[in-house]
Amino acid sequence: MTTSRVTRAERAVPIGGDVVRRPDALGAGTRARYATVGRRDTRRTLARWFLYAILLLGGLGMIFPFVWMIASSLKRAADIYSLSLIPPSPTLDNYREVLQRTEYVRWFTNSLVVAAITTVSVAFFDSLAGYTLAKFQFPGSFLIFIMILSTLMVPTEMLVIPWYMMSINLGWTDSYWGIMFPGVISAFGVFLMRQFFMGVPNDLIDAARLDGFSEFQIFWKIALPLVKPAVAALCIFTFLGNWNAYIWPLIVTRSEEMRTLPVGIAFFSSEAQSSFHLIMSAAALATVPVLVIFIIFQRQIIKGIVLTGLKG
């Protein structure tokens, strides 16, 4: 990006300079050359406009399903097949009906509680484990690291059956703990945090030791603040993953009150007998809060996803 701007600026110097004030004073060849450059610049501007337009069109295509979802959710049942983006006679009745017929507020709260607690737990324990594996040499440390790393290869789907049996035997089904326990520490996060803690200078840790800090204080007060961006990224990643998690909450919950938002929405939608005005309201209730949060914090969220994606 910068390079193209620089070259264009360099080229612009003779054009913007004193010489150009009287172009007739220039030789024919020079004039022709300036004309080509000018034409090339117009072509570039046009190409740029075209790029903006094409990408805008594609982007609007990307969010069209959301637009259509909102539009459908505001239509009366009788108008649901109308093609217009603006509902002929807009109504909030669908939302009212969904809120009345379902445990939406409860599901939302469940998802929030589960995602929040899991995120805090992952942030703490993954940092602690990552720090330990990055900065301590102790008998078995390599073995433990390899062991944790190897669990990354096992797909969740292989574990849901054992987890389910475990939950039945220990009475964890249909409880917050039951929904959360598989995710309270993540191998991916341990690996990620270890990568970042490796970058913390050992001198700093040794200096803190000389100052009489305990090992936990060094972790908490010296090392952790240095990798704050990584922790934030891990938190965003974990929260999103748990907020949208589907298969395990679907298996482990029984009662309507314990469902998380995706599970509740799925059950409601398949029971709604193709009443798409209601289903779209339910979908909107599930997606709009996340979209709003995303739009507000898009910079941080995208940065977090990139950071976790590339270091992992």
């Binding site: 990006m1 790029l51 982007g59 990307m62 093609l83 484990a129 433990i144 669990t151 096992v154 979908a283």
Partner: protein
């Protein structure tokens, strides 16, 4: 106690809870899944007889399993390449933007943050014979098509939704990869007279290789585990019509948690197959990545 030993004690104290977690919630259950796969296992039955590799033998005779395996690879082999090409093209475009960058990123990234269950239903609504896609196609005199109700098209309709949802993530990772290509290389190539396409092919693409490998692997693994969108979008959520969209994970779910009597041993055998496929891909990834490291 020496200083070193004292540090060991701290280290063990720090790692104790995570270690306990991984042993009991990850490694134990993994081994247990293998164990279950060798049994005929109904959780409410008293007898859970050991059957050796019978479950695996039964799998090889089960047409639905083969269908699920085949479909799962269709999800992978069509979904991954198409989404990578599309997202790379979009990323190359977005990379040139200097204004409204945040706005554009929001547009393309929004689907990725939303729940797949909810957007799956939105797409199902759009795909309906009387939904908006058919209305628009109707203007050109085509259709109506029952996209999700026809065995030939249903799986591709679901793949389209999967691509749409994952696109944002891939674009963002591509953008990060493109940013890490030093502009000097492009300048040098431009001075040598390389055209735009040549620059892309001989400079950008090779330097983007690690990003590409990462996205291929994560894409393949996540498509091998496809479940949510099939359950949300296929007719009755059963992988229909005529099992044309059923995936391995959906079949696992049905056999373990919906079938009566529950066939958890059989379902576990399927998860073992899934595990082996992912294992091969992971090992392949480690090989490719380490070779890359030697190159540079």
């Amino acid at each position: 106690m020496t200083l070193e030993r004292r540090r060991w004690v701290w280290a063990y104290a720090f790692i104790a809870i995570p270690l306990l977690f991984f042993l009991s919630i990850r490694i134990g259950p993994t081994l247990f899944a293998f164990w279950v796969s060798l049994h005929q296992w109904d959780p409410i039955a008293i007898e859970r007889p050991y059957v050796g590799f019978d479950n695996f033998a039964a799998l090889s005779d089960d047409p639905v399993f083969w269908k699920a395996l085949r479909n799962t690879w269709i999800y992978v082999l069509i979904g991954v390449p198409v989404s990578l090409v599309v997202s790379l093209v979009i990323a190359l475009g977005l990379q040139r933007l200097t204004r409204y960058v945040g706005f554009y990123r929001v547009l393309y990234f929004a689907p990725y943050v939303t729940s797949l269950v909810a957007v799956g239903w939105v797409w199902r609504w759009m795909y309906m014979p009387n939904g908006i896609f058919n209305d628009v196609l109707g203007w050109t005199g085509l259709g109506p098509f029952n996209f999700l109700g026809t065995p030939d098209t249903a799986i591709y309709a679901i793949i389209a939704t999967t691509i749409w949802q994952a696109l944002g993530f891939q674009i963002i990772i591509f953008l990060a990869g493109l940013e890490s290509v030093p502009p000097v290389y492009h300048e040098a190539a431009a001075i040598d007279g390389a055209s735009g396409w040549q620059q892309f092919r001989d400079v950008t693409l090779p330097l983007l290789n690690p990003t590409l490998v990462f996205l291929v692997i994560t894409g393949v693994i996540s498509n091998l585990q496809v479940f949510t969108q099939v359950r949300a979008m296929s007719s009755q959520g059963t992988g229909g019509p005529l099992n044309s969209t059923i995936s391995i994970v959906l079949y696992v779910y049905q056999q373990a948690f919906q079938a009566l009597p529950s066939k958890m041993g059989y379902a576990s055998a399927m998860t073992v197959v899934l595990f082996l496929m992912i294992l091969v891909i992971t090992v392949f990834q480690l090989k490719v990545l380490s070779r890359n490291n030697n190159d540079y």
